[in-house]
């Protein structure tokens, strides 16, 4: 019962935050020193009449609060403006590019969580063994590497020197994308029985997902390890052993369940880095997703696209935080039922 109230409360808090985000994106888009109207009219050689028309269309001469009103109104109607480079609604571009990013990001997140937690636990249990030292070394180098450099090194090693994996893109040359159901190629090709596409899309996912997940994996590994080390010294673990439970049960049932709590929290915070990393990863691997779209938009001064992209990223973050909060309340009964 209280869980439902908790969810409702969190959802209600979402709204002011999202409004705040729109305020932020609005502010950013009005910090632009360049003359936006001139920019959209064609730049230096623009026709003054065209510039004036665009100024009116974009309400640029009206007071700021009114402009914000127009902006919010557009947003509520799902209008994110027109993409400058591609001459189509930003929402359309996002719809096209979102699945690719989603597939990559979700895979990377899942990898980071699973591998991170398992290695973290093993590292903690075999503390100070060579396994522990190696994983800790890899972990700390993992968070010290620029993700785009890691991507390039992986490409150099596995797509060039020892070419066992594809260099970039979502599918091999000549391979046709599976029939569109969700836009996630692995899922779609599996469901439609398109095994060429399935194989190709999996192969192409390997390097980008390893790249993207690496830093997050390292962080999750570290938090799991340190939580486990701390928890293993607690009183209730002593009780569990005193009950006569096997060590494996003590670790994987009693200790891990508690260690997941701070781990989930950290994973949630880390999601922001994952999204940022997606931008860089997609650039290197020529991945047709939101990240690559964002980089192009930023370089072309396509402000509607940049703002639209930023807004979408914020919505994803906020949703992810909500999910983490919910998970947290599921994992920790003290949060759920108590104060």
């Amino acid at each position: 019962m209280k869980l439902r109230n908790y969810i409702i409360r969190r959802l209600a808090l979402l709204i002011p935050i999202l409004i705040g985000v729109t305020l932020l994106t609005f502010t950013i888009s009005h910090v632009i020193p360049a003359d936006v109207a001139r920019h959209f009219a064609g730049g230096a050689k623009a026709n003054p009449e065209t510039i004036a028309r665009i100024r009116e269309e974009m309400h640029l001469d009206e007071p700021l609060y009114k402009q914000y009103g127009y902006y919010l109104n557009d947003l509520i109607h799902g209008d994110l403006g027109e993409c400058y480079t591609e001459r189509r609604p930003v929402t359309e571009a996002i719809k096209q590019y979102l699945p690719a990013t989603a597939e990559l990001t979700i895979l990377a997140m899942v990898m980071a969580i699973f591998i991170g937690i398992i290695t973290g636990v093993v590292s903690a249990v075999k503390r100070n063994s060579w396994i522990d030292h190696v994983t800790r070394l890899i972990a700390i180098t993992g968070v010290s590497m620029p993700i785009f450099w890691l991507a390039l090194m992986l490409q150099l090693a596995f797509a060039y020197k020892y070419p066992i994996l594809p260099l970039d893109s979502r599918l091999g040359i000549g391979v046709v994308a599976p029939n569109h159901i969700t836009g996630l190629y692995v899922f779609d090709s599996l469901v439609t029985g398109n095994f060429t596409a399935l194989k190709s899309s999996i192969y192409h996912l390997i390097l980008p997902s390893i790249t993207l997940s690496f830093a997050s994996l390292a962080i999750i590994l570290r938090i799991t390890r340190s939580s486990m080390l701390e928890i293993v010294r607690s009183d209730y673990i002593r009780t569990a052993r005193a009950k006569g439970l096997r060590e494996r049960t003590v670790i994987y049932k009693h200790a891990l369940r508690n260690a997941l709590i701070p781990t989930i929290t950290v994973a949630g915070i880390n999601f922001a880095y994952l999204l940022g990393g997606a931008v860089l990863t997609e650039t290197i691997f020529n991945w047709p997703g939101m990240g690559r779209f964002a980089v192009a938009a930023v370089n072309n001064l396509d402000f509607p696209s940049v703002m639209g992209f930023t807004l979408i990223a914020a919505i994803v973050m906020v949703t992810a935080n909500l999910i983490v909060d919910l998970l947290y309340s599921v994992l920790d009964p003290r949060v759920r039922l108590g104060d």
Partner: protein, 324 residues
């Protein structure tokens, strides 16, 4: 009385950064069937270490049982395999701890934690185990037992948590229950309730109990016999009546005199002068000699042997024998 557990020459050391802590330096005592024996001493004297050593729960690093013999039912617990020991833990010997709040896993319900102990050691299905968990909670007089089964540790009061722990510990009908300061972390009124409960349970169930405490009052209330520990040694052991009425060891005497008596007029409270020794560099010979008003030369050189002063009453002190 028949012996249940026999501890002989138990030595447990802890290897720390600052040096080797010689926590137990060869202790000997027996626990008889159906009795309740108290293990008394100041903080740091090795009472908890004794309990954990019996359970073979001393974690390496940094602790290690160096030598000794702990015989239960003819088996030396220090020599059997880990798997055999696990079967004994929670089933034949179980233990409850001082801080019930932190000793229960916060993410599992009370019911599931008790049921876990039952299904681990007894061949019953889940439903039967749950029923037995409820029976155990009723046994420990837990108010609203059905509701408590589904609750989490943080939802219970300290007293209820300790009852839950007792229920869990007794769920597999152990022959020996070790209680490590079970009431120290509780309010005084709750303390009394839990002690009453323990005393009643002792009479209802056929288990022996090793009660570890620093509080002589608790010992007087609940125990049949008592062993007094100091700095890793058992310095005196006997029935509660013998120890309280007739303490022989200077330390025991000091403890008895330190208890304020309501009916006697006193100006100052009695204390045992000095401080508890550092167990990395313990005093030579008898570890109590720096604080003892009757220390003799031999006390500084050799550890005193245990001598019998009455039937069932033993002391480790050169004042009462052992000097040749």
């Amino acid at each position: 009385m028949k012996e249940l557990l026999k501890v002989k020459g138990l030595k447990t050391y802890f290897y720390t950064y600052e040096g080797v802590v010689k926590a137990l330096e060869g202790i000997n005592f027996d626990i008889y069937k159906g009795e309740s024996i108290g293990l008394v001493g100041e903080t740091g004297c090795g009472k908890s270490v004794t309990a954990l050593s019996i359970m073979r729960l001393i974690q390496w690093p940094p602790g290690k049982i160096i030598e000794g013999e702990i015989t239960l039912d003819g088996k030396d617990l220090l020599k059997i395999s880990e798997e055999e020991m696990r079967n004994i833990r929670g089933a034949e010997i179980s233990m409850i701890f001082q801080e019930p709040m932190s000793s229960l896993n916060p993410v599992f319900t009370i019911g599931s934690q008790i049921t876990e102990a039952i299904t681990l050691h007894q061949d019953v299905d889940k439903k039967e185990a749950e029923k037995r968990s409820l029976d155990m909670l009723n046994l420990v007089r837990m108010p609203d037992a059905e509701k408590v089964l589904k609750q989490y540790p943080h939802e219970l009061s300290g007293g209820m948590q300790q009852r839950a722990m007792i229920a869990m510990a007794l769920s597999c009908k152990p022959s020996l229950l070790i209680a490590d300061e079970p009431t120290t972390a509780l309010d005084v009124t709750v303390q009394a309730q839990i002690l009453d409960l323990i005393r009643e349970l002792n009479e209802e169930i056929d288990s022996s109990m090793l009660l570890i405490t620093h509080d002589l009052g608790v010992v007087a209330q609940v125990c049949d016999r008592v062993a007094v520990m100091y700095a890793g040694y058992i310095v005196e052991i006997g029935t509660v009546k013998q120890i309280f009425k007739n303490p022989y060891h200077p330390y025991t005497k000091g403890l008895m005199y330190a208890i304020p008596k309501i009916h006697v007029e006193t100006k100052r409270l009695e204390v045992i002068r000095g401080v508890v020794p550092n167990l990395i560099t313990p005093p030579s010979g008898c570890r109590f000699h720096p604080r003892c008003d009757h220390a003799m030369d031999v006390c500084k050189k050799k550890a005193p042997p245990t001598v019998k002063v009455e039937d069932g009453h033993y002391v480790a002190c050169f004042l009462h024998g052992g000097v040749k």
